[in-house]
């Protein structure tokens, strides 16, 4: 679901950035005022979770791959505002360090994965939770929420892709950016997510939520202690398991590079040309492009990328928590 650069026209990128910005600003304000200080490290851990979960690619019908996001999980654990911040940070680090998702398309990716998923997921989860009394019912609600939310995000991404042939064409009518119309992009994005990725997201969400609830109740319920150790253990486990994400061969739909799209097969036929906007567009060389290290076996590169990404996310949030402490500290309050 990570839209690379040059798939969306500059106008779409700007509109999507404008759409995502208010959500991010409101989230940052809410988190700064409402989230207790001891829960701020959880934001980093949450972002690290999301980062890792997105590394687990699963093969989907049509020969491409898809991945879970963990947005509903974070929204259920930390609230939708904190989840929005966590996931957008994970997306930023993915774009800057690993070239996963574009720089120009960051707004669109943030809107799809960091705004739509947490808020839709959280709304459905609360809706179900308030109406059921059993634990099993709550978990069912969580699974439904995760499933619906990731599909809503996939639909948004598909619409953004599908609008491009209408918005940007050259004189001969050849699309400049994403060449697939809505009739292709919506089924191409939704079928894999409805069939596989949504189920994977739901399974991940419920399994990890149940684990966190059991080992670190303070994360879920106010008043109990927030234990970080089990969460770090879970993170380490996911890091070690991350090379499993390599088992699925192929690139996710809509994430082909400019060199791949010409040969990408869709509905039985290859595209046969590289849209002009893609061939000449922005090319940002991320240091660890595609989670690979030059000269290293894929597994090693993937695992190293997982460690570096997780560490970077956690460090970023620990530094952010520091800013909050400074702002609310007694020295300023007295002055």
């Amino acid at each position: 679901m990570h839209i690379p650069d040059n798939y969306l026209g500059p106008a779409t990128c700007a509109v999507m950035a404008l759409a995502a910005a208010p959500a991010l600003i409101v989230s940052a304000k809410k988190v700064a005022h409402r989230l207790p200080k001891e829960k701020i490290p959880l934001l980093g851990i949450g972002a690290a979770f999301s980062f890792l979960i997105m590394m687990f690619n699963v093969p989907v019908p049509g020969g491409t791959t898809a991945h879970a996001v963990g947005g509903t999980l974070l929204a259920a654990l930390l609230g939708p505002y904190a989840a929005c911040l966590s996931i957008s940070t994970a997306l930023l680090i993915q774009a800057l360090m690993f070239g996963d998702g574009g720089i120009l398309a960051f707004g669109a990716n943030t809107f799809n994965m960091a705004v739509v998923i947490p808020f839709v997921g959280y709304f459905i989860y609360r809706f179900v939770k308030d109406r059921v009394s059993s634990k099993r019912g709550e978990y069912a609600g969580l699974a439904i929420a995760a499933y619906v939310a990731i599909n809503a995000a996939a639909l948004c991404a598909a619409i953004e892709f599908g609008l491009q042939p209408l918005l940007a064409k050259d004189a001969a009518g050849v699309p400049l950016y994403c060449p697939y119309p809505l009739a292709v992009s919506i089924p191409a994005m939704l079928i894999p997510h409805l069939a596989v990725a949504g189920l994977v997201e739901a399974a991940f969400t419920v399994a990890i939520f149940a684990f966190v609830e059991r080992t670190s109740p303070g994360t879920v319920y106010a008043g109990s202690s927030v234990k970080l150790k089990p969460l770090y253990v879970l993170l380490a486990g996911l890091v070690l398991a991350s090379p499993l994400g390599l088992l699925a061969a192929g690139t996710a739909w809509g994430e082909w590079g400019a060199d791949e799209i010409k040969a990408a097969v869709n509905g039985g036929s290859a595209l046969g040309f590289t849209p002009a906007g893609m061939a000449q567009g922005l090319r940002f060389d991320a240091p660890l492009r595609d989670y690979a290290v030059k000269g290293a076996p894929e597994i090693v590169g993937y695992a190293l990328s997982a460690i570096i990404g997780v560490a970077a996310v956690i460090i970023a949030f620990k530094l952010l928590a520091l800013l909050k402490k400074d702002r609310g500290g007694p020295s300023r309050a007295e002055a």
Binding site: K294, G295, A296, V300, I307, I308, A311, K318
Partner: protein
């Protein structure tokens, strides 16, 4: 009495006083603002930390292999993210200072078109500084001396290091108080501040001489001849084993990759 009085002291040149105050405070803060102040013992043996840091810096500086450098980066970032935010910020500040300096040194090479190499070298410099900064952030001074003596560094060296650090802190406190006193007494314009500064330096010298004498007497009284004996039991903890295993993996990777070529 009915006339309102306005007294404004003439502008005083006291910048150097404030600067020296800040400098002394900075050193004292760096010395005191260290882990272990709370009395908590290290979870990892200090000598193992020291040896691992030396090894990491050595391997990173010898390496010409980008894969090894990335592995080292993953290890160091992984360790760094376990610290508290304040410590991370302190470590990163040191690394940033090194980055600026190294970037300035490498800038001509970069402009002459050795871009790739320069970034690689810059990465190596940053990793070496990061390793040292992590060690320093994770180890109190007492443990540093302990690590040196456990690694069979000659006692004279260990004692000198130990005393230097202790006396920088002690004499620093003394200087600080004298500087404060000078500042408080210099109401209005004090033309003779420079003379007082010389007096402070002189007093400091006399005090340090006194301190050396008392230190020697205290050593004699306690039968301490400058030989350090370590009394701490030395059972290996799981954290020690973890760090040792990490070292082994890194060293093995270095040789398996032929990273020095």
């Amino acid at each position: 009495m009915a006339v309102r009085e306005r007294y404004e002291p003439r502008r005083d040149k006291g910048r150097y006083l404030e600067k020296s105050l800040l400098a002394v405070l900075g050193v004292l803060a760096a010395l005191r603002d260290r882990p272990g102040e709370s009395g908590r013992r290290d979870r990892v043996r200090p000598e193992l930390k020291l040896a691992s840091t030396f090894m990491l810096i050595l391997l990173v500086s010898l390496s010409r292999n980008s894969l090894f450098i990335e592995a080292a980066a993953a290890v160091e970032l992984g360790l760094l993210c376990l610290f508290r935010g304040e410590v991370i910020a302190r470590v990163l500040r040191k690394v940033a200072a090194a980055a600026v300096f190294a970037a300035a040194v490498f800038l001509p090479a970069f402009l002459w078109g050795r871009g790739g190499n320069v970034l690689f070298l810059l990465g190596k410099v940053l990793l070496a500084v990061l390793a040292a900064a992590i060690f320093s952030a994770a180890t109190p001074w007492t443990s540093v001396t302990e690590a040196f003596s456990r690694l069979r560094v000659p006692d004279v060296f260990v004692m000198t290091l130990d005393m230097t650090i202790k006396y920088i802190s002690l004499l620093g406190g003394l200087v600080l108080n004298m500087l404060y006193a000078l500042k408080l007494r210099s109401v209005g314009r004090n033309e003779r501040k420079m003379h007082s500064l010389a007096a402070i330096a002189g007093t400091l010298f006399l005090k340090s001489r006194d301190a050396a004498v008392t230190q020697y007497q205290a050593m004699e009284c306690r039968c301490f001849s400058g030989t350090y004996r370590i009394t701490r039991a030395s059972a290996w903890s799981p954290f020690d084993a973890g760090l040792a295993a990490l070292d082994a993996v890194l060293a093995a990777a270095f040789f398996a990759l032929g990273a020095w070529r």
